[in-house]
Point group: none
Chain length 230, copies 2
DNA sequence: TGACGTTGTCACGAATCTGTCACGGGGCTT
DNA sequence: AAGCCCCGTGACAGATTCGTGACAACGTCA
């Protein structure tokens, strides 16, 4: 969710205002007040989004956007144009140059954050939605349903993600650390033993359909999902 | 032009192959591996195309196609037959039964996607204003009217669009963000929790006819419209 | 203008989920 | 067999998430 955002704006007050709002929303902010600095930062840091002011000293925002789109390394970086003008002409010109979105000043902090979220979402690779079936257990990410031999299985969000990971990586031992990285995310800090508890919850959720044996303990190493005998 | 496509195929490997290709082409995929499941999904989800395997356990694809063509609600759903046999005899029988197109295995992903696009284009004109009926609930875009077991249901404009989207994309879980994009439009900035409120309004509007259970909460993910048990 | 319907937002509470701990059983090593 | 380590289990408090009622802003129409 948090993203690296480059704010290219030459007016200090506005730059500050924008940066404060973005940081408050949990994003990392890089700043530049001219095209040269901005160009270097884009190439080096490769931000997730560039917030680009229309008016820049020396070089217009449009020119800068064109340059970004022209270089291989930077051509896929989303750009949101920022301008005080509101006439339709500029809007079209901005989008044609390859801006992904367009905000006219003055804008509300909420709109700013929302637009950025929208652009990020559009770029985000969406996760696989293939359903999996192993040993009579079926899990379908699209409908978010799990059934054991046809009967429904009730799971909490974390248990669902855990089972999903297991079923897409079966027959293989995963350490608690690996499970935390893959299912919880490698940025969160939780005790390793927490995995045990969720394994237990997953097992007891599978118990009514008799599939709890699919989740196997490998003493000293971790856990494994397998339809074969333990 | 993303479309809802139902893949009826009992061989997991082939089903997977087909689904992967269709999803890669931007379509939504529902799956079934027997005629019974397929029948339910066709009636509920009313897919834009049915990809139907010739050989099915228990019931042949031909029989299934006949059944679809026999029922008022499903008689207009395009069917593409899928078969390993290549003899002329089957081809004729398949088309006579009402299949719109016919693909013999092995086939290239490109051919598959192309045929689907062709069928969709053929059906495209009137597709938008079709009325939908699921679990006793009927929604008619043309007359802008909703009835539950015959009794009228009063909905505001937003609730109507929300229900319309739900009924044209049933069974699958939609996040609040996706619902905002699809129902409100991806240029509108409203709080995600606003979705909750409209879900509530939709539910209480459906309550008098006893259909409020069709709108289901998937904790941690979003909402789902389904005639199946929660 | 005023009654009315619709919409987005908020605050509160209830239901549910999550992470952590302590306890105990059971296997493995020596 | 003793001791150590690993794992299962029940309990619990804090954190999330969701349902719900209320409300103000807005537009419409009489």
């Amino acid at each position: 969710m948090p993203a690296n955002i480059l704010v290219v704006e030459d007016e200090p007050a506005i730059q500050e205002l924008i940066a404060a709002n973005l940081q408050h929303a949990g994003h990392h902010v890089l700043r530049a007040d001219d095209a040269e600095t901005a160009g270097r930062l884009v190439r080096d840091a490769l931000p997730d989004v560039v917030l680009l002011d229309w008016m820049l000293p020396g070089q217009s925002g449009i020119q800068f956007a064109r340059k970004l789109r022209g270089e291989e390394r930077t051509k896929d970086v989303p750009i949101i144009m920022l301008t005080a003008r509101s006439d339709e002409q500029d809007k079209i010109l901005g989008l044609e140059t390859g801006a992904d979105d367009y905000i006219t000043k003055p804008f509300s902090p909420r709109e700013l954050v929302a637009r950025i979220k929208a652009v990020l979402r559009r770029r985000a690779p969406q996760m696989t939605e293939d359903s999996v079936e192993i040993g009579g257990l079926k899990l379908d990410p699209a409908t978010h349903r799990v059934t054991g031999d046809g009967r429904p299985v009730e799971l909490g969000p974390t248990e669902f993600r855990l089972l999903h990971f297991f079923m897409t990586h079966p027959e293989r031992v995963h350490s608690r650390t690996q499970l935390l990285d893959q299912v919880w995310g490698d940025h969160v800090f939780v005790e390793e033993r927490t995995v045990d508890v969720h394994i237990r919850r997953l097992r007891s959720a599978l118990e009514p359909t008799g599939h709890e044996g699919l989740v196997q303990t490998v003493r000293g190493s971790g856990y494994r999902f397998s339809s074969l005998q333990d």
